[in-house]
Amino acid sequence: MKARVGIYVCECGNNISDQVDIAALIPILEDAPGVVKVMPFRLLCSKEGQDFLEAEIRQEGLTHLVVAACSPRQHLTTFMEVSKRGGLNPYLLQMANIREQCAWVTLDRKEATEKAARMIRAATARVVRQAPLPEREVAANPDLLIIGVGISGAAMVRTLAGPERRLYVVDRDVAVTEGPLSGMEGVELYGGWQLEAVRGFFGNFEVTLSSGDSKKEIKVGAVAICSGSRTMTLQEMDYPGWEDPGVVLLPPDLEALMPHLEGLPERPKVLFVHCAGREKVGYCSGTCCLRSFRAMRWLAEKVPAAQLACLYQDICVPGRKGEKEYQGILGAGVRMTWGRLTGLSSQGRRTAVSFLREDGSSGQETADLVVMVPATVPDPGAKVLMDIIGADAGSTGFVEEGHPMLEPMATSVRGIYVAGSASGPRNAEASMLSASAAAAQIDAELRPGETLRLEAQTSQVCEALCTGCRNCLNVCTYGAIVYDPVAQTCQVNEAICRGCGNCVAACPSGAISVKGATYQQILQEIREAVR
């Protein structure tokens, strides 16, 4: 069918017409190939403008539409809607941004007019090369695999359990099968099982679980990593003299400290050593200071006679609660000493703690009990897990978030989510919070009974041209490209592709093209731009 292109030039009140001689434009545009109508309009984005365009599309039987107006960032969606209403596929529309990028930035009216002509002709040459793109969807499986049932895992199960989606819960601990989560509606517990393989993509993952020799295949739409974290052991910190009996780790459950308090002198001196292992792990665990302060308060109640001291480097208590606790223990007379722990040693019945001061001089404190406040480290399983899933584990070994700020519950792989301290140190409260955040995101992005909308402008591989060199696969940030060993070519998974076009440029064979930005479309734009 022969192209019938309509070009509509918005005067934008006077914003465009003041700088661009639209009358002079019209003849230049009219002789562009395929153009059947060129028409100025005062304000195309207005109600009247939109109705006018809609009517024009029908009356003129337009096959392609060019709107020369403002920035597509402002009104592309507006005019795509208009196209739809006019019965024209919205991808057969091209905008020429002759306001922001021409009229408003060009002093000389003649130059502005010529540039506008180039821009509009470029848009016209491009639009006739554009193809209608359908709005596509894929069916999605609402079921979810949750890995690990610590605080965050359990919270997610409680939040998401229900009749409309199955939850498969895997944990290396056999006990969970009989645990508090057993018997919940739609929840299948796999205690003592682990993840072996994950295939597929968001909405349609195929997962292999294994326990000893037995395997199980399940299908889920998404995976939530809740593998948690743990605190460093004295051995891992490996400070000289850590074996000293007077040295203990701050336990999760403070009651566990009691035995260590027995047999201490009348007014025992208890020294809390913060940042234990921080140098080794290379980050501040963020949660330990508060934990330590609470322990001090608890201890002060249990053993009022105790003299409490604290060796610290930075007090990290972001927010409201922590600072109050801090002021509290300062008020209670806990002696704070700045120092970087270098070693421990027994001194009679006491333990000597050596440290470096900021000026480099070394200092020493002795105490009847040394309580080490340990760094938090990722669960040993996390890295393995990341390898299986193909998501990034950061340099710290914790799961990397999809985006440190905007996508804290996502990972680098779409459909794989993370919650709790698997992605970094978190206390119980923060873990709960992150769990309900992740749950909310999954619930919103993977709604039972609904399909997933696909990007309209995705890449596609021409099998005849692909040599299977996998350059595209190597540069794709989304893992949207797979190599098919049978066809010996690469293929794009359009459910994942975001249409950036990186793979297109990576392919020397020209075997990949991205819909809506093909070689020809851009080339035609170039041609007119350099005329």
């Binding site: 930035v105 540039k115 540069v475 990186n502 930005a517 350099v530």
Partner: protein, 141 residues
């Protein structure tokens, strides 16, 4: 320098940062050389060097590629690859003494309207120094 020379510069702008930066230049009514004709691409990494070459061989006096600053890419890493590809093309041109300055890669963020104006003005100046792309007069492609 030939005063009558009106350069033709193709400006490939990434949708997320540089195109927005160019819009901001407009919103602020800054002056951008009329020689630049913008072409929007989703990401600087979409730019197949063959297209850049095509632009130069079709007579573009200059080709500007503008993308998000390294680390800011909307798609994560696209601009890192774009940087390598265009650097390669520049090296090829440089080895053959083909005025690699006609090709320029710049980072312009969505808030850098002023920078966009400066970058384009400077590039326009350079292209005017270089004069018309000899490809045209030599009848080559």
């Amino acid at each position: 320098m030939d005063e009558t020379f009106q350069p033709r510069i193709v400006g490939f702008l990434c949708n997320w940062c540089s195109y927005a930066g160019a819009d901001l230049a407009g919103a602020n009514r800054l002056n951008v050389p009329a020689s630049i004709t913008p072409i929007k691409v989703m990401c600087s990494s979409r730019l197949d060097p063959a297209l850049v070459l095509a632009a130069l061989l079709r007579g573009a006096d200059g080709v500007l590629v503008a993308g998000c600053h390294p680390g800011d890419c909307h798609y994560g890493e696209g601009n890192f690859y774009a940087r390598r590809r265009l650097y390669l093309l520049k090296e090829v041109l440089a080895t053959l003494g083909l005025e690699e300055d006609r090709l320029r890669l710049e980072w312009v963020s969505a808030s850098e309207g002023k920078r966009f104006a400066e970058v384009t003005a400077d590039f326009d100046r350079r292209i005017r120094e270089l004069g018309p792309n000899p490809i045209r007069s030599r009848g080559l492609t």
